[in-house]
């Protein structure tokens, strides 16, 4: 990165608003130091300018530094603000940008610093009883975080129905607190910390090649997307450009990941609506897609494909060309039959509505946001190779309900098949660039099947990670789930809404 004035736009307007900062501008990311005294004004300015708060995290060390990652989607740029925090409190950012609340809680758990104003902060990742010896990135907070609970007194005929964390076979650990009068959902809250594995803590001191192994296990169903984001962050930090064949391979793997995830979501929708034969039909398609992954890249869930600097494996192009039409045809036939089944469609329509305003306010991403009329897709808004040359078709709907989310997924699945064909035709795949010695910091991103996955990494002079921030899309979208569940839904709608969000607890608790 070099120090210079950013090109005209939101980043330049921020500099004129807060004054005096020396930005560091890369090709796609501009980093602006913001003093703590001006942080509130900066957030006000960026929120008013329509910037999308994509992430908020702290870096460890002798001094806590807050970093806010803003998506300037119309300008095809990310803006990162850096603010050293000397005091135990910083300005209450979620009062200005509500999308910041979950991260404020997470920073309090990990670093012990909190937003001013005394707002209660929830437990989101660390388990109860996490004492001073519990592995964390910074210091233990002086007071334990609040347990999440319904923000009202349950009275009258309503009661709280606890569900989880152990649920039916094959479903992740997640505790629901459902407040219901027996039918209608009055309120809902989640405990997501059961799957916390301290992954960001474990990444410290690792070399990038070692870190990739853990990164793809952050959220196994987004192994390609999250490891791509981390690899891109490392490559940005070290100034490495992967070979073009490697970028084609990453695109192929990412679209395969999108395909099988959307098929899995469709199967889960059938299960949640009690349509057993439809579920079997979708799972046949899912199994064929997973076997296609194994035939193409040697792993059903596409683990071990990416490497920092490139890829570890090239696709078996013949196997992919041979198997993709049949596997997708299976998915399409199941989808067409489902869309023609009125009893299925009736359960999806007007269920779990997320409004456009909610999606924007909470910073939702991926199919959940696009189904609510928010046209964001990192492959188009923040395009990197190969998507700059091979752009996807934007799938967007306005209704914001479960049906809109299913339609977005089906549109995207069809487009993924087209993209895979284009990427296969684009040239030889594979290759890895050697990582140079040295350190630095960088931001990386990829559009997973759930939406924007982000990673930020800082490397010391020896090339070891001093701080890695992994932000899967699930971290963003769970915060929209309770709003969707409360939107005039009944008890039995909850599994349907959860299937349509198709998020992971592992990704958010990491």
């Amino acid at each position: 990165m070099t120090t210079l004035q950013p090109r005209p736009g939101t980043a330049a307007s921020l500099l004129s608003a807060i004054g005096g900062a020396a930005p560091r501008e890369g090709d796609r990311v501009v980093t602006v130091p913001v003093p703590a005294a001006q942080l509130e004004a900066a957030v006000h300015h960026l929120a008013a300018a329509g910037a999308r708060l994509a992430d908020l995290f702290a870096a460890d060390g002798d001094q806590v530094t807050l970093r806010l990652v803003w998506g300037l989607d119309s300008e095809r740029q990310y803006l990162v603000t850096e603010t050293p925090i000397d005091a135990p409190e910083y300005p209450p950012l979620s009062d200005i940008a509500p999308a910041a609340f979950t991260e404020e809680c997470e920073i309090y758990e990990q670093f012990g610093v909190r937003p001013a104003g005394g707002k209660p902060l929830n437990r989101v990742a660390l388990p109860p009883g996490a004492g001073p010896d519990f592995p964390r990135l910074g210091h233990q907070p002086q007071e334990a975080p609040e347990e999440v609970h319904a923000p009202h007194t349950v009275g009258g005929q309503a009661f709280e129905f606890p569900f989880g964390p152990v649920r039916q076979a094959g479903v992740e650990s997640l505790y629901y607190g459902l407040v219901t009068s027996g039918e209608e959902i009055v309120d809902l809250y989640l405990f997501t910390w059961h799957k916390h594995r301290g992954l960001e803590w474990r990444l410290r001191g690792r070399r990038p090649a070692e870190a990739m192994f853990l990164a793809e296990r952050t959220e196994g169903l987004s192994a390609t997307a999250i490891s791509w984001a981390l690899a891109a962050a490392v490559e940005s930090a070290l100034g490495v450009q992967p070979p073009s064949g490697a970028l084609l391979t990453r695109g192929i793997a990412l679209e395969l990941e999108r395909l099988y995830n959307h098929a899995a979501a469709m199967a889960a929708l059938c299960q949640s609506t009690g349509l057993s034969v439809g579920q079997a039909a979708a799972e046949i398609a899912l199994e064929r897609l997973l076997r296609l992954n194994a035939a193409t890249f040697g792993h059903r869930y596409l683990f071990g494909v990416l490497d920092a600097g490139g890829v570890r494996r090239a696709p078996d192009q013949a196997a992919l060309r041979d198997g993709l039409p049949g596997a997708y045809g299976e998915l399409r036939r199941a989808a067409d039959a489902l869309l023609a089944t009125n009893s299925f469609m009736d359960r999806l329509e007007a269920t779990g509505i997320v409004t456009t305003e909610q999606a924007r306010r909470l910073g939702l991403v991926g199919p959940v946001a696009r189904a609510a009329g928010v046209p964001i897709d990192g492959r188009l808004d923040q395009p990197t190779a190969p998507y700059a040359a091979y752009p996807p078709a934007l799938a967007v709907r306005d209704a914001g309900d479960v049906l809109a989310r299913l339609r977005v997924m089906l549109d995207e699945a069809a487009d993924s098949v087209r993209l895979i064909g284009d990427l296969l035709d684009a040239g030889p795949a594979g290759g890895t660039a050697a990582l140079p010695a040295g350190g630095g910091s960088g931001l990386g991103w990829a559009e997973s099947s759930r939406g924007e996955a982000l990673a930020w990494v800082s490397l010391d002079a020896d090339g070891r990670i001093t701080r890695a921030r992994l932000r899967p899309a699930s971290v963003r979208n769970w915060r929209g789930f309770d709003d969707a569940a409360r939107s005039q839904n009944v008890f039995t709608d909850i599994p349907i809404i959860e299937a349509s969000f198709w998020l992971t607890v592992a990704g958010t608790a990491r």
């Binding site: 070692e210 192994f213 853990l214 349509l275 034969v277 439809g278 079997a280 039909a281 046949i284 076997r291 194994a294 035939a295 040697g298 792993h299 059903r300 683990f303 071990g304 039959a337 089944t341 009893s343």
Partner: protein
């Protein structure tokens, strides 16, 4: 619903007879490594210990210990020493004790490479 019933019947049975008969798709699955003991010396064993991301390998004197229960079949050891390590082809792991998953691989004197 009757249409779905008919559709299910028409699609027929797609599951295989596994485990009564082998499943052909298993051939494409990644499997834990098999080590050729005569090809492994201390130096190569230490290299394999270094590249294993899940710490399934550790050296105890003249023996390389391989904990199959910790192996994720990532293939990094096979890439590091293709002559000494190959896929085992075994993906069914079962045992009556934890110790049954730890294999002892005796190391040879220095192997010329």
């Amino acid at each position: 619903m009757p249409l779905w019933f008919a559709r299910g019947l028409r699609r027929g049975i797609v599951t295989t007879r596994y485990p009564a008969r082998p499943d052909s798709s298993a051939a494409g699955l990644p499997t834990p490594p098999a080590f050729r003991a005569g090809m492994l010396d201390h130096r190569l064993a230490d290299l394999l210990v270094t590249v294993c991301p899940s710490r399934a390998l550790y050296r105890d004197g003249d023996v390389l210990q391989f904990d199959v229960g910790r192996c994720t079949a990532c293939g990094r050891c096979q890439e590091a020493a293709p002559g000494a390590v190959a896929p085992s082809g075994e993906f069914e792991l079962a045992g009556t004790s934890r110790a049954a998953f730890v294999k002892q691989i005796p190391l040879a004197p220095e192997v010329g490479r």
